[in-house]
């Protein structure tokens, strides 16, 4: 017979998994909606790799919007986000604002990459130079910001960051190795360079959720 602690843990895992799946579905639905708005011609010309990249970018953007909304309207935001109350949103405003900027910038860069014009994609909305410039700017900006803001994050933030990166690496390693090997052996879909970018961004997101979920922090 299960003891109370095991039952509680199971219940939290179920709640976390439900939230993760629900969040994923909402993100995918919102991204699909945005892609439909972009027009079927453009989406059709993009192909699966670009669509996948844009979807992940839009999910990052959507998360930035949700947290941004929470900060702008803490009372309503407290019901939407995983925080104790509106006061927590006010107290943690500066740290969460950094998350909004980081996720928003990453989402924007991924979408720009997905819609960039390349020799095989003349219908692209921005030039390759613009997309590459935005990416380079975000990498440099991210490095500078990480250094400048290193003291703004406390030990829990750092620990969750480390655990998230650990999971992201493990998942990416397994996925990319299997995919690349299958491609190399002629047994599966080809792995393009942009698929690597998509996989890393997606696994970083999933890794962060796993790190938070394992601690039971997806539910209050």
């Amino acid at each position: 017979m299960m003891d109370a602690m095991t039952q509680d843990r199971l219940s939290k895992w179920k709640k976390s998994a439900t939230r993760l799946v629900a969040g994923g579905l909402v993100g995918m639905a919102a991204s699909a909606g945005a892609l439909v708005l972009a027009g079927s011609d453009l989406v059709g010309a993009m192909g699966p790799s670009r669509v996948a990249l844009a979807t992940i970018g839009l999910i990052y953007g959507l998360m930035a919007l949700m947290v941004g909304f929470g900060l702008a309207a803490p009372r309503a935001g407290a019901k939407l986000l995983n925080v104790a109350d509106a006061e927590e949103l006010r107290e943690e405003r500066s740290g969460m604002l950094l998350s909004v900027v980081t996720m928003g910038a990453l989402g924007l860069v991924l979408v720009l990459l997905a819609v960039a014009r390349t020799p095989g994609f003349a219908a692209g909305l921005v030039s390759a130079e613009v997309a590459m410039g935005a990416l380079a700017l975000s990498v440099v900006g991210g490095a500078v910001a990480s250094w400048a803001w290193r003291d703004r994050f406390d030990e829990l933030n750092r620990q969750l960051g480390l655990e998230g990166c650990f999971w992201a690496f493990c998942l990416s390693w397994v996925l990319l190795t299997l995919w690349a090997a299958a491609d190399f052996l002629g047994l599966g879909a080809s792995l393009t360079a942009i698929d690597v970018v998509t996989t890393l961004a997606a696994m970083m997101l999933l890794g962060s959720f796993i790190a938070v979920g394992r601690r039971g922090m997806m539910v209050r």
């Binding site: 104790a84 006061e87 927590e88 107290e91 943690e92 740290g95 406390d154 030990e155 829990l156 933030n157 620990q159 601690r215 039971g216 922090m217």
Partner: protein
Amino acid sequence: MRDCRERAGWSQGELARRLGVSRQTINAVETDKYDPSLPLALRMAQLFGLEVRELFIDRWTPEEE
């Protein structure tokens, strides 16, 4: 730790400010979702005038030889 904080009349935010961590960290420690680092545990104990082992419950006991 929640008892000690409430006895001191501090909110989670107030304790977080005194310890230089986020309120999320205090909440996670109180709900057993995060074990603080040794430096933070020492600071918490010092703030409440207690020993670390009085502040945190650990049911581990060494195996008898």
